[in-house]
């Protein structure tokens, strides 16, 4: 025979509980459906709790003068199968008490009363849709590359850049750098020897950081420079090797200046004039004096100005008209005894042409079918891969090598 619970009803909006005043029916007695069986009192009124069915009172689990929360079972009525079926009590309602108990105890202070009425599994309530979905951390932005506004503000306060934080392993979500990681890193730095970087070092660092935001690639080729050296030896005064490279680059770019163009959005910005810079080491950094319109000025005419600018640069006395506005740079890393390097173009330029130290290597001479000594230097071209591909850069470098083979024409 079904046992039908009698529960504390919700006797008014906001009512959480009610007190038992009296039981109108003794255990074992018969009750009719809808008959008042318990008298309860809320803060609002005294009211009757009715029996949900006809049958016999099995037990009262509640006590007089005690208060019970809405939904609590106060007792049971036993009724016939037919009665339970007729009243629709053979389904979920009889299990309501069990449902309530299945909720995590004490999980939500306010859910308790409502939980009695909830006939959905508690797990289905877990799905939550915040009013505005939080922006997810972008997939590519794990680790230190995702910096929160707070971290960025702290870095700005200290004058630090993302690159400065490259050495910190993030402990946050998706490997993100947290403010705690950052502060820990700073406190560790304090324990090491610190010296002030020069103004020039800071400026170079800034230029390199900006430049490094682009995809930079490098191509290189060996060039036999004996004709160049011979020409140089015969000249007076003698042009520096970098000037030959600069003039060759100028001529090549004069033939197709788009190669030195800059990509801004979906536009290629073409150079207005073939003004080329060349790197001069000075103190704690590098200066880049500029030779204007180098494509239309023969090498011998560039020479005086070149030597003058080298001297001024070393003394850090470059005039304003000799700095800035160049479209590419030549750097002779061979002066450091290096044969090969991948220089980084300046942030406002697409190309940097590098030349390594010459050395004598055996060179197959087809005419005499023997190896002959030849002086060879590696030339490299680093470029913004957004603007140029390997092919374009390679053809430009090959053209430069070709021009260097005939220095008298430069």
């Amino acid at each position: 025979m079904p046992r039908i619970p009698i529960v504390m009803p919700q006797l008014g909006e906001s009512i959480a509980e009610a007190t038992i005043v009296a039981f109108n029916i003794a255990v074992g007695e018969q009750v009719e459906c809808d008959q008042d069986v318990i008298e309860v009192e809320t803060q609002k009124a005294v009211m009757g709790v009715t029996s949900p069915c006809s049958g016999r009172v099995l037990e009262w689990s509640a006590e007089v003068q005690r208060s019970y929360a809405v939904g609590e079972t106060l007792g049971f009525v036993e009724c016939s199968e037919e009665e339970a079926h007729r009243l629709g009590l053979d389904g979920v309602v009889a299990e309501a008490g069990a449902m309530r108990e299945s909720l995590p105890h004490g999980f939500s202070p306010l859910d308790a009363a409502a939980a009695h009425f909830m006939q959905v599994p508690s797990t289905s309530l877990g799905g939550v849709a915040p009013t505005l979905r939080g922006l997810p951390v972008p997939a590519h932005a794990s680790g230190a590359s995702f910096l929160s506004p707070r971290l960025k503000a702290r870095m700005a306060e200290l004058g630090l850049h993302a690159a400065d934080l490259a050495g910190i392993a993030g402990s946050g979500a998706a490997g993100r750098l947290t403010i705690e990681d950052f502060e820990k890193f700073l406190s560790q730095l304090d324990q090491q020897h610190l010296s002030q970087a020069s103004t020039m070092r800071v400026a170079v660092a800034d230029a390199m950081r900006r430049s490094w935001t682009r995809p930079i690639a490098t191509v290189g080729t060996p060039v036999v420079i004996d004709p160049l050296l011979a020409h140089r030896k015969a000249s007076d005064p003698k042009p520096g090797p970098a000037l030959y490279a600069l003039r060759a680059l100028a001529i090549a770019l004069g033939e197709n200046s788009a190669l030195a163009g800059r990509l801004i959005g979906d536009k290629i910005v073409h150079p207005r004039s073939i003004d080329l810079g060349f790197a001069v080491e000075a103190e704690d950094g590098v200066l880049v004096p500029v030779l204007r319109r180098a494509d239309v000025t023969p090498l011998k005419d560039l020479l005086v100005r070149y030597n003058e600018l080298v001297d001024l640069a070393r003394r850090r006395r470059l005039p304003a008209d000799a700095t800035g506005g160049s479209i590419a740079t030549v750097t002779n890393f061979g002066t450091f005894g290096l044969e090969w390097a991948t220089p980084i173009p300046l942030p406002e330029q697409t190309l940097v042409l590098g030349m390594g130290a010459g050395r004598v290597v055996p060179h197959w001479d087809a005419a005499t079918s023997q190896f002959l000594p030849a002086t060879e230097a590696h030339f490299t071209l680093s470029f913004d891969h957004r603007v140029l591909d390997g092919g374009g850069a390679g053809r430009l470098l090959t053209r430069i090598a070709q021009l260097l083979g005939n220095p008298a024409e430069l």
């Binding site: 009512i15 509980e17 309530l125 009013t131």
Partner: protein, 332 residues
């Protein structure tokens, strides 16, 4: 008269509702200018019994009104202009929209227009309860907060229900007092407070270091339960009870976000605009650099409030959904 504070059902504890009743009793006792006007509040004691026995104890000062929300508020404004301190009980916050015009156009503008203060307190039994349905469950604080010239209070504790209602009556400005119906009987305290934070100051209800939940009214208790749940996993969630929606204590909120870097604003009201949006807007504009993750908010669903407890319990935020949102937020 019967001792209001010790009804036989709760021998030792004072409910949120009793605190409201006691504050009104106190105000009536202390200040002859105070009277209460509303539907069924006289001998019957109010639909929720917030004025139980007050009409008997203060004859002629706890008056039944006709079902005329506009005239209820309008007359309160007139009485206030003549030096009275009326308390208007709306039977449900939902019905206050019938009196909206008087609240927002007459009361809210009066001081600004004329220089004459308009000290009225409009009590709004707010928020959802199981079975309340679309027209007995609304949270309207954001609508009123939108209008200049009003003070909007949203007490979440028994202590605040008492102290803030007393302060509302004492303020020289029109106050919309949003008391939460769900808390009426569910919240209990051992005694009434002797002192309290002033209106306009938020309270840190729980301290933490990993994320901040900014909330108010009944959602405070859901948020505290969520914070408790997350503490089992080692998360320390700070929970701020705004207490008053307008003015909104931006300083306390920003100070907390500065400590945690993450924030979730939770409100039982609807999502569009509203208190959570205001809180997030202020954090984003004034405290963007404090954030480690996008600020997040959680509100009820953008539908009318449903009747059935199954739907109602899912319509509004709960401890469970707040905990879920917090876990999302902590992952960001």
């Amino acid at each position: 008269m019967q001792d209001l504070l010790t009804p036989h059902t709760f021998p030792d504890l004072i409910t949120y509702l009793e605190a409201i009743r006691e504050a009104q009793k106190q105000a009536l006792e202390d200040d002859p200018r105070v009277y209460i006007y509303g539907q069924d509040i006289g001998n019957f004691g109010g639909a929720f019994k917030a004025t139980k026995n007050l009409a008997q104890s203060f004859p002629g000062r706890v008056l039944d009104s006709p079902i005329s929300e506009d005239a209820m508020v309008g007359s309160a404004i007139g009485a206030a202009l003549q030096g009275m301190r009326p308390i208007i009980e709306m039977q449900f916050a939902d019905f206050s929209t019938v009196g909206l015009n008087q609240i927002v156009n007459q009361a809210a503008t009066m001081f600004w227009r004329t220089g004459l203060p308009c000290p009225i307190t409009v009590r709004l039994p707010s928020g959802g309860t199981p079975g309340g349905g679309p027209f007995h469950s609304q949270n309207l604080e954001a609508i009123y907060a939108h209008y200049p010239g009003l003070v909007i209070l949203t007490p979440a504790t028994v202590e605040d229900a008492y102290s803030m209602l007393l302060e509302a009556v004492a303020l020289d400005d029109p106050v919309v007092f949003c008391e939460h119906k769900y808390l009426y009987y569910h919240l209990k305290a051992e005694s009434l407070p002797q002192e309290a934070l002033p209106v306009g100051k938020a309270r840190i209800a729980r301290t933490g270091r990993d994320a901040t939940v900014v909330t108010y009214s009944a959602m405070l208790h859901e948020a505290l339960a969520a914070a408790e749940e997350l503490s089992a996993d080692g998360w320390e969630i700070e929970v701020i009870d705004l207490r008053s929606i307008k003015p909104l204590d931006t300083d306390t909120v920003l100070a907390s976000v500065a400590r945690t870097g993450r924030v979730l604003a939770v409100g039982e009201a609807w999502p569009w605009g509203g208190v959570t949006a205001e809180v997030l807007a202020r954090i984003a504009t004034e405290g963007f650099n404090l954030l480690d993750a996008p600020p997040m908010r959680l509100n009820s669903k953008d539908t009318p409030v449903p009747f059935h407890p199954n739907l109602w319990g899912t319509h509004r935020p709960t401890a469970r959904t707040i905990a879920h949102a917090l876990r999302d937020l902590l992952r960001l």
